[in-house]
């Protein structure tokens, strides 16, 4: 018996007013449990749109998304129930500025999962230890560095114990020094907790080390997919080669 994919995308297209972010015939994608899928590609290639369509932050134009074998693109489904088990970490951290670190993590646990008080406290303490920020529990996001903020954002998602976490360029807004601490937390999620991740990133070393599959997107289509060894060591696609040489030039 084959394993069921955590999330499956079939022929997804998205058209904004005069811009096709995901082109027809559409993007198809399967993410298996405990897999780390890394999506690379230049900006404007539809990576973030794909990610947001998968938890319906953006409504796809056509196509279907299945979460644990259940279609979530129908109108009847309560998307808030689904989002409980799909975490998302953003490029701009998006912590709630008016709440302390502790309160940021507490809000979804209290209002969405409706956990008992002692369980909430236990989880807050636990996730803050995981991301190494226990002493910052009463600090406001405005008082933290970018790297610390992103770690809190990861902790906030992690505390919900989702089945799957999306990372939308988690390190793009950080300088190289702070990138390391965020990546090490992400590494922890994979190696210690065996989470399923879908990561949009430009961090090639991270992709090489942890990705089980790499997907290359360009102009709204998936151009190439394969294990990281294939993609980075001997790319067979012309556009992929071009993209990689540009990225390597930069670093």
């Amino acid at each position: 018996m084959t394993e069921q994919p955590v999330i499956e995308v079939r022929n997804l297209t998205k058209k904004f007013k005069d811009f096709e972010a995901l082109k027809s015939p559409g993007v198809s994608l399967k993410v298996m449990p405990k897999e780390v899928v890394v999506i690379i590609g230049s900006s404007g290639s539809g990576k973030s749109t794909l990610l947001r369509c998968m938890n319906r932050l953006i409504e796809p134009t056509t196509g279907q998304v299945f979460f644990n074998g259940e279609e979530i693109t129908t109108k009847e489904i309560n998307i808030n129930e689904v989002r409980k088990s799909i975490g998302m970490v953003f490029q701009q951290f998006n912590l709630f500025m008016h709440l302390t670190v502790g309160a940021n993590i507490r809000l979804p646990l209290e209002k969405v999962l409706k956990l008992p008080e002692d369980e909430i406290k236990r989880r807050i303490a636990e996730v803050l230890v995981t991301v190494n920020l226990s002493e910052k529990i009463d600090a406001y996001p405005g008082e933290l560095s970018g790297g610390q903020q992103q770690r809190v954002a990861i902790a906030r998602v992690f505390a919900m114990r989702p089945k799957l976490i999306f990372f939308d360029e988690p390190t793009s807004a950080l300088d190289p020094e702070l990138t390391g601490e965020v990546l090490s937390v992400m590494k922890k999620l994979v190696t210690e907790f065996h989470y399923t991740l879908v990561v949009v990133t430009h961090e090639i070393p991270f992709a090489k080390e942890l990705a089980s599959r790499v997907i290359f997107m360009d102009e709204g289509e998936i151009i190439y997919r394969g294990p990281p060894g294939d993609v980075f060591e001997n790319p067979s696609n012309e556009r992929l080669k071009k993209f990689l040489s540009k990225i390597l030039e930069m670093h």
């Binding site: 808030n80 989002r83 998302m88 998006n94 709630f96 500025m97 209002k111 969405v112 406001y140 405005g142």
Partner: protein, 333 residues
């Protein structure tokens, strides 16, 4: 040098001994407490404001004990004592001055209460309107209605609105009484122990300020980055929860400065209520002027308006600093 250091050692020992003593502990506490109080250029305004409020408070307590007294009496007394140094008193200078000061003080309280209640009620109405206005959902009918309301009350003169509410409500109430036998509103309100003019005037102010405040709050909501909504929705919060736990708490901190403007506007606009016979500051000063033929009455009224508006702006400034969120909007100076 060596001798000096020995002396200081002895001194510190003595101080330590003194500290053990109970009565001197109190002295040190008093010294510490009052040592923190300093009058500088920066907080001089606060000191004056504090003293003023203290005097008014004492005056208010006094009105509870002494019959036929006014809460401004202690202030007048102080001015009297000051003038006594030069051999004058207020009544000796002009018998009308204390009467005017007292009469206008009562009217100023009325103006103050009217504007405060209007702003508070208007805020509640405005928050509801603003949430409807920014809503992208399916409540289209409501949205058009709210937009029409805001547009109407922002694009017509307040005086016309006041007259419309006053005469319109009165007329409708009479008509309803004739055809359906519903009790006349003015009787209902006066049975409740309220003044009919003040109630309807306040209603007109509430309706007016709600439209302006709705626009302020709408702008505040739109100034919160979309990332906040995105993050909240991605965590599984519903649209309503996102609004009430994430967007509105941040909005209220952003809108304190523009709301200060609106509070002052309402206070100053409340002078238009004089047209429907509310005896607030302006109306009272007009009637006093017609009795005593003194233009200075209006000057006193202006000073009263200034004191109220200025202290309100001072307090909202304080509120701004209290509600400050690190890294968001309003900052410390």
């Amino acid at each position: 040098m060596a001798v000096n250091s020995k002396e200081t050692e002895i001194e510190t020992e003595i101080e330590a001994e003194i500290e053990k003593n109970d009565s001197s502990k109190l002295k040190i506490f008093i010294k510490r407490f009052f040592g923190n109080i300093r009058i500088t250029k920066k907080n001089l305004g606060w000191w004056c404001l504090g003293l003023l409020i203290l005097m008014l408070f004492i005056g208010f307590i006094r009105t509870l004990i002494v019959p036929n007294s006014n809460y401004i009496d202690p202030l007048i007394m102080i001015v009297d004592w000051f003038l006594l140094l030069f051999g004058y008193s207020l009544e000796y200078l002009d018998y009308r001055i204390p009467i005017i000061l007292r009469g206008l003080a009562n009217a100023a309280t009325l103006s103050f209460y009217i504007s405060l209640i209007s702003v508070a009620l208007g805020f509640i109405l405005a928050a509801i309107l603003a949430v409807i206005l920014v809503n992208k959902g399916k409540v289209y009918g409501f949205k058009y209605l709210a937009q029409a309301y805001v547009d109407f009350f922002r694009s017509t003169p307040l005086l016309v609105q006041i007259l419309m509410v006053y005469f319109g409500v009165s007329g409708m109430s009479l008509a309803l009484n004739e055809s359906y036998g519903i009790p006349i509103l003015s009787n209902v309100i006066s049975d409740m122990g309220l003044s009919y003019e003040i109630t309807l005037g306040t209603l007109a102010l509430v309706l007016n300020t709600a439209a302006y405040q709705a626009e302020i709050i709408r702008a505040g909501i739109l100034s919160i980055p979309t990332g906040q909504t995105e993050a909240a929705r991605a965590l599984g919060l519903t649209q309503g929860q996102t609004m009430s736990y994430v967007i509105l708490p941040q909005t209220f901190r952003m809108v304190v400065p523009p709301l200060t403007n609106e509070i002052i506007n309402v206070l100053l606009n409340s002078s238009l209520l004089s047209n429907i016979g509310v005896f607030e500051l302006t109306k009272r000063s007009r009637s006093l002027q017609s009795v005593y033929f003194l233009w200075e009455v209006f000057f006193v009224a202006a000073i009263y308006y200034f004191i109220i508006a200025f202290s309100l702006s001072k307090f909202t400034k304080r509120l701004e600093i209290k509600l400050r969120i690190p890294g968001l909007g309003v900052s410390y100076d």
